[in-house]
Symmetry: C2
Subunit: 289 residues, 2 copies
């Protein structure tokens, strides 16, 4: 009897779907159980939705930033590649990364003595602490420091020097736009030590070809070594995501030292993936010419 009532008047009568349109004519559609949070901060619209297949998702500006189920791919891949190349990554700077996932991965390396995160929007950090505690787990680490400032302004003004800078920005719309400009890349170059490495998330080569072309042109005008690597992230546009490994001295493959990390419990990154991620399909290579 209660089954009948449920199907006639209960939640079975409706479905909620979230579609993120990655381009005008293509989107990812996810079944939503609940909308947990919707707010507009000083910088952007912030939503947290609970999806059936990917768990909770943090949505900024209408774009999925992380989901509980596949955030590990992005965060492992933006962090561990450079951390297995740089011999002494003592001082790390994260630009953006408000959810804390990149910080969490960086702090897995005992050789990291300081990890500063410059996130423009304090509300993203608060929302992550509240809804994604497993992602925000690094904020309490004594080596971590969170600064709420514009990342581009921070690197333009800081007097510090860094061994590694990770640009964990949102897409080049809204507050993150400046983080894809040559000025920012030049400032990042300037605050890196002589053997420093800069890694940036650089959008989808499958769906953002024009953006990718521009970003790599900007990066190549600044860094002597710029190499793209790829990862598969189901909930990101096109599911194929690119990162730029930019370096003053080290080569991501020749200077790769699997023993640097000695980390267990990762779900995506391993030594084969480190090497294989730099293999680019011909159509992606063509974007970098």
């Amino acid at each position: 009897m209660s089954e009948v009532v449920k199907s006639e008047f209960g939640p079975n009568l409706w479905n909620m779907w979230f579609t993120e349109f990655n381009k005008e004519g293509v989107g990812l559609t996810l079944k939503v159980s609940r909308v947990l949070h919707s707010a507009v901060s000083d910088f952007q619209r912030i939503d947290v939705i609970e999806t059936e297949e990917f768990g909770k998702a943090l949505v900024l500006y209408g774009s999925i930033m992380i989901t509980e189920k596949d955030e590990f791919v992005y965060h492992e891949m933006i962090s561990h590649v450079a951390l297995h190349v740089h011999p002494k990554p003592s001082n790390v700077l994260i630009i953006g990364g408000g959810d804390g996932g990149t910080l969490r991965e960086v702090l897995k390396h005992q050789r990291v003595q300081s990890a500063q995160m410059v996130e423009i929007d304090p509300e993203v950090v608060e929302v992550s602490k509240r809804f994604f505690p497993a992602v925000a787990s690094g904020f309490g680490d004594p080596r971590a420091k969170v600064i709420h400032d514009d990342g581009a302004r921070f690197v333009a003004n800081t007097q510090e020097k860094f061994d590694l800078i990770l640009s964990d920005s949102s897409d080049p719309v809204g507050p993150a736009q400046v983080l894809f400009q040559q000025t920012f890349y030049q400032d990042a170059f300037n605050v890196l030590n002589d053997d420093g490495i800069f890694v940036a998330q650089t959008e989808s080569p499958a769906f953002h070809a024009d953006n990718v072309r521009k970003i790599y042109k900007n990066l190549s005008a600044v860094f002597p070594t710029v190499m793209m690597y790829l990862a598969h992230i189901p909930t990101y546009p096109g599911s194929l995501w690119s990162f730029a490994f930019c370096s003053k001295r080290y080569h991501p493959l020749e200077d790769f030292r699997p023993e640097y990390g000695n980390i267990t419990g990762l779900d995506y990154y391993n030594a084969d993936i480190h090497r294989g991620a730099f293999a680019l399909p011909n159509y992606v290579k063509a974007l970098l010419l």
Copy 2:
């Protein structure tokens, strides 16, 4: 004035969207300009839709088989890996592959003297010739032969021996179900020469974990060498697709000979991709234990 009329009464008043649900709670949504063909053959429902982002798409059983824009990934990757490992792939058998894309790629290798394709559904071949001439371009080659039969029955009964068998099946629902069973794999093994290679499309490790586990268990019960490799196909479920390289003698990396093909004009496959495709994320490796 004509603009007003158009927006009030013309095509601007509606949008058509196609969503393929890869799992219950997640789908790929594509804007559709036109439905070009809808029919039910003796074996399955066949649709051809024109999408704004991926061009024409062939849809069997409600699943996208190919789109004009990204079919190259699947067809290059199911074909060229083994063809750059086997030293003398004279006699090739394709199971399924009715659209002709795999045949087209196989025939790019001059060392292939005969390529037989066993496709159960003649209507798929006809639809491909009509709507996807660039995919169906190999059917006229004198080395090509199309047989309309059940692929599993064909390998169980043939007296021929093959150097390479490519299992280019649709998903393990409907007519292709038998092509994921151990009986079929054993029959394929039996009709391969002593140094033969068998390659199969083996679904999405991101979205079909249980299927993938079963398929590799079945394959490993038959072939001494079974190695998974991956490719990124935007319009396939999860966009991460797996293939099994199964072999009696050759190793896909140790016996890789980039010079075998000497093929230009590919959009995905290259020597780095050949090696990198065998690098598996930890969560994918875990499916194969």
